[in-house]
Amino acid sequence: MTNTPDVADTAGLDTERNRALQREWYGEPLGERFRRLIEVLGLSQSRLAAVLGLSAPMVSQLMSGHRAKIANPLVVTRLQAVQELAEQVVNRTVDPIEVPARLEQIRALAATTTTRSTAAAAAPSPHRVVREIQALLRALASADELIAASGMLAGAHPELAEFLRLYGAGRTDDALAHYEAVQNPG
């Protein structure tokens, strides 16, 4: 590619610095992040680019550290969604057979949601919070154990029972609806 006229000896330093920035902004260098998503979701690099809405050369630039920042806020939103999907595939809360349809939804995420989702990016999204509560509960006990615990609490503390059942053994969508109802009563 003829697009980075960096002088050879500064280019290495730049990509090192850019990878450090990516670690700070996105939790890890984007080369590693993208490669893992490609592997977990069984994608090609060009398919990942299409889902995120990035051009193929831009994906290469970000992965190699020639560029540090994802400039389009909407792409950040899509990347977050792909990341969550990959986590769900890994912890088996999403059937791999659903992956293509979910990726299609992510790709179609319209620009009109940008303002909302970039505002939400500062605070973790409800979806993310729910996923973390689910992960925490499931690290403590199996789904069967959580259902049993929920049954024991049902008489005396129905709301806590519902919490355990929804987040410990229910579908993410139901937990998400519960979370949002509790966050925004009325």
Partner: protein, 335 residues
């Protein structure tokens, strides 16, 4: 789109294959010598060849992707980049209108870019697939509106005859999209495209005038629009960076050439050269080559069939034999 080796001129071209029924307007456009539009911000097809129900058009190869790619990579563009692109588009449109043609399909995917890196962007208006030549008898009664929903002017929806001012409306829609990063509402009946909030006053005023409901209230011509855009957006000190300081960079989007092809064409005796000696005219539908097909497809010509090759300008690849036309279609489409 395909990358094609032009054997006559010894260089790569872009090629597009259309079904005959979709190609009629474009074919008329290309054949009409007076319509050869030479302008730094226009990319019109300049060669063609036809066989049976398929037509292949060639044009200069643009390596920088489209404005749609640019919007995907960067989202909303800074005012200087948007203004530069819009001014260039308006200048290109002026040349198109001067040739008596209305483009009718302005949208980011049809605006191609040179790989200008971190410098001043360079745009060329492309895809004349539904362009019309003014003053030609319209053979078919128009039953439906042609164009891309969200981008065509309100009067087009009501069935108005083609008019250059419809392109000025499209220019306004594209301008809003460059600055907002968002496509126009796709439902043409509810479309009220408006400049995004927070723009400098003169910029918003130019866009609102382009988007005027009444064509008479838009600029009188594309030249006038170009002048207004240049003045309002003030791109003279263009830095081509986003507010965050990130450079807006137009990359080279073309991948490496496949095996069997080099910068100087197909490798002799390599895979790419196989197409040069199809001994008997053999017809292969271009569609059968497909984007993932092998390295090259042969497209041959026999005088007996209804085939023609237009040999003026940068045209398709003629072999030594006058009875054969080859397009070395590299087995990978790039758009």
């Amino acid at each position: 789109m395909w990358r094609t080796w032009d054997r006559k001129r010894g260089r790569y071209l872009a090629a597009k294959v259309l079904q005959q029924r979709d190609a009629a307007a474009l074919l008329r456009f290309v054949r009409e010598q007076s319509l050869r539009i030479e302008h730094p911000h226009v990319l019109a097809p300049n060669g063609w060849a036809a066989e049976d129900d398929q037509v292949l058009f060639t044009m200069e190869l643009m390596r920088g992707g489209s404005v749609a790619d640019l919007l995907g990579d960067y989202g909303p563009l800074p005012v200087d980049v948007a203004g530069e692109l819009l001014a260039q588009l308006a200048q290109g449109l002026a040349a198109v209108h001067a040739a008596g043609v209305v483009h009718r399909d302005l949208k980011p995917a049809n605006l191609l870019l040179e790989p200008s890196g971190r410098g001043r962007p360079h745009l060329r208006l492309s895809d004349f697939g539904i362009a019309v030549v003014l003053g030609e008898p319209r053979l078919t009664q128009q039953q439906y509106v042609i164009g891309t929903p969200g981008y065509f002017a309100p009067e087009q929806l009501r069935g108005a005859a083609p008019d250059p001012r419809q392109d000025l409306y499209g220019l306004g829609v594209v301008g809003c999209q460059l600055l907002s990063g968002q496509p126009p509402p796709a439902d043409p009946w509810q479309s009220s495209v408006a400049p995004p909030p927070g723009l400098p006053g003169p910029v918003a005023a130019v866009l609102r005038r382009l988007l005027a409901e009444n064509p008479a209230e838009r600029y009188r011509s594309a030249e006038q629009a170009a002048a207004a855009v240049t003045k309002a957006f003030d791109t003279s000190g263009g830095e081509w960076t986003q507010d965050t300081g990130e450079p807006v960079e137009v990359f080279d989007h073309l991948g490496h050439l496949p095996d069997g092809f080099t910068e100087t064409g197909p490798v002799p005796d390599g895979l790419g050269e196989q197409v040069t000696f199809a001994s008997a005219p053999r017809s292969m539908p271009l569609s059968a080559a497909g984007p993932d097909a092998g390295l090259a497809a042969t497209w041959s010509y026999s005088p007996a069939s209804r085939v023609a090759a237009h040999a003026e300008g940068a045209v398709i690849i003629m072999s030594n034999s006058a009875t054969m036309v080859h397009a070395d279609l590299i087995g990978r489409s790039f758009r």
